[in-house]
Symmetry: C2
Subunit: 206 residues, 2 copies
């Protein structure tokens, strides 16, 4: 994992990938699968939705920090498996052989098998809706993993993988903050699989 | 547009597609491009994020209703164009030649060019974060448009299209409410492009 610009960390979540959210309760690490996420700003501010029925809720809302990790599409069976068991009775890191690294700002671990990790602090819990508002404090990505896309959960047990990337950066330039534009040579958020080659008619991509 | 089961309307938003959100201010229809969305439950409860800087904010928060529409990937240039102009000085329906239909429960229109439409009522505005909590009251989808996928905004002017669909319905069955499982013969949310054919090792999909 290499440092990833915090200003652009929202581009890791904006496409709506399935995420793994790692927590630490003071004694143990845990990890859950979360597909209900949202960007809140052109900055490192996000929301996730879960609830008190989830074992991670206590660690998340009392330690007030977590790591949001973006798993590659080829981790699907692990991602689903993590969602099917509970940290209450299972050490998910052992069960699924997950690699973890020390984070820089939070106690929750980075997930070494993932494409990217965002260290976050909880800034508000809107308990009525299970919405947890997060502020990113550091981000990391694996620059060697651009061969692999992400997963988008449909919510019924099917998952959409990433297809080709379409480039409308020139068209959208007037609307985007400078901080959002990637450095020369970098395409998209740096973890999306395909180079944007479809600059013409979008009908050609159907 | 045909009726779509409201119980399963969250499966239209959970994959994180770019959406168009239509509003009606009492006199005029308007439409905005929104990529900051989140599912809040295994039910028709969603959140979107925008703010008072957005011309649609007034109609959305005073009329307390909207339609969330899911555009197909081949509407990309229209979707970006809608995001680059304002209803303050532009009739976007005329400018982009958008087809609209009367909704059944709200004054905002359905978008005829889109894959699906969800009629929503605003149930809470969390102004500090620009979060608008919505409850779906009716849903519609175009059953003839399963040839086309959706768009996932990266947030920097690039967009990821839908790739192949992976099926883990059997593995996830213990975790899913009955209402979520699609009727026999229906795959996923009914608007995703590809049939789930990758039931084996996910490594084969990279």
């Amino acid at each position: 994992m290499k440092p990833f610009p915090l200003d652009r960390a929202f581009t890791l979540l904006e496409p709506g990938p399935v995420t793994l959210v790692a927590t630490h309760d003071g004694q143990h690490d845990n990890v859950m699968t979360i597909t209900w996420t949202m960007v809140l700003d052109f900055a490192a501010r996000f929301a996730i939705t879960t609830g008190a029925w989830n074992y991670s809720w206590h660690a998340l809302t009392t330690r007030r920090e977590c790591v949001i990790a973006i798993p590659p599409a080829d981790m699907l069976d692990t991602v689903v498996g993590i969602g099917l068991c509970s940290g209450r009775d299972t050490d998910k890191f052992a069960k699924f052989g997950l690699a973890r690294h020390k984070a820089t700002h939070v106690q929750a671990p980075l997930l070494g098998d993932c494409l990217a990790n965002i260290e976050c602090r909880v800034i508000e819990v809107i308990a009525q809706y299970g919405i947890v508002v997060l502020e990113g404090v550091a981000a990391h990505a694996d620059p060697t993993r651009t061969d692999c896309g992400t997963l988008h959960a449909v919510g019924d047990g099917t998952f959409i993988t990433d297809g080709p990337v379409l480039d409308r950066r020139e068209m959208m330039r007037p609307k985007l903050p400078d901080s959002v534009l990637p450095p020369a040579g970098v395409v998209g958020n740096g973890i999306i699989r395909s180079k944007p080659t479809h600059k013409g008619k979008t009908h050609g991509t159907r």
